[in-house]
Homo-oligomer: 190 residues x 2
Amino acid sequence: MCTTEDKIINASIVLFSKKGYTAVTTKEIAKEAGVSQMTLFRHFESKHNLFERSLDKFVFSPKSKALFESLEWDLEKDLNKICSSYQDVLYKNQKIILMHLKNEELNPHFEAVLYKFPNEFKKLLSNYFEEMRNRGAIIENPETLAVNFLTTSFGLFFTSLVMNKLTFDTDIQTCISNYIKIFTKCISLL
Amino acid sequence: MCTTEDKIINASIVLFSKKGYTAVTTKEIAKEAGVSQMTLFRHFESKHNLFERSLDKFVFSPKSKALFESLEWDLEKDLNKICSSYQDVLYKNQKIILMHLKNEELNPHFEAVLYKFPNEFKKLLSNYFEEMRNRGAIIENPETLAVNFLTTSFGLFFTSLVMNKLTFDTDIQTCISNYIKIFTKCISLL
DNA sequence: CCATCATGTTAGTTCTTACTAACATCATCT
DNA sequence: AGATGATGTTAGTAAGAACTAACATGATGG
């Protein structure tokens, strides 16, 4: 299957994101990974080092350039693509995001990574809306639209993540497509 | 000013929400409160007890009934009112929300409180949209609209809370009014 | 002025946790 | 078969945290 280091890193991601750095013990991580505590220290020297290595391994970055090039200048289709991609990035980094939220001392390197996504997507979307405005498809301010769109996407993602489906019975996929349908109609009509 | 117990509870709210339960020490809380550690224990017996009492004291509940009765059946005005009220509840409970996010073992009593707001507002808004649909002001599904509206509100709130204004230069108030303007035009046109 | 009460101080107990050292085991490669 | 290397085991250290006990201080109120 996978190496000892991988097993340990995987276990630590699971636990750190569930409980936060301080609340997790190395003993616990070792047990979750199915190795002895000693093995953990032999591979990673310290708990903090393990934490850093976990981060490095698990930050997932999107290929926004490829995404942008695949757009077809059809509002609903494109927004669906962009939103899916954004949700995907958020989803793939959810453990990292949770870890971030649960830790007091924030790793600067890590913060930068975390803020990269929203900003990248904002630039991408602003450009897209700008172009769409030039084509006469919409008339609203591109940046306003972009921020609105991304914040809602983030809200949807985060609601489902934090509330763990306890709030609102509508599932997230339905929410997203509803949202995009309305948003599209809306901005092309304005 | 305020009693010793208040000072301690205030300090603990600040610290628990910043770092999470495990990562905060009673020594730290005492220092932040400007009292001795002994005084803390004399008043609250244990760290966990202090935590529970902090929760009890700081959960702020909205008066949604009064809110609903104050509505004027003017879409933009009403949505602004509802959104402000929602943001206000979220804002006033932000420390609690952060505390919740940072703690592994979730207090069930507390969880219930946390999920109450979104659900309460969802019911309120659904009813509102339902009535607006009956009046012919909108045609979309009330529940869909409600979920959309609340998720975006939550997204806005949470973005500004977590990202701490590092993402997106647009400030949250502008975002909100932009959003409501667009949303209003949108659903009354559809 | 004296009793009371809240607080501070200091020292200490117990427990947990990060982390280490030394030795044991066991599979793999030569 | 024997050497090597990765892992387990056990015991232990050092630091920090929750929490306690005993005594000191200092303000308040009758």
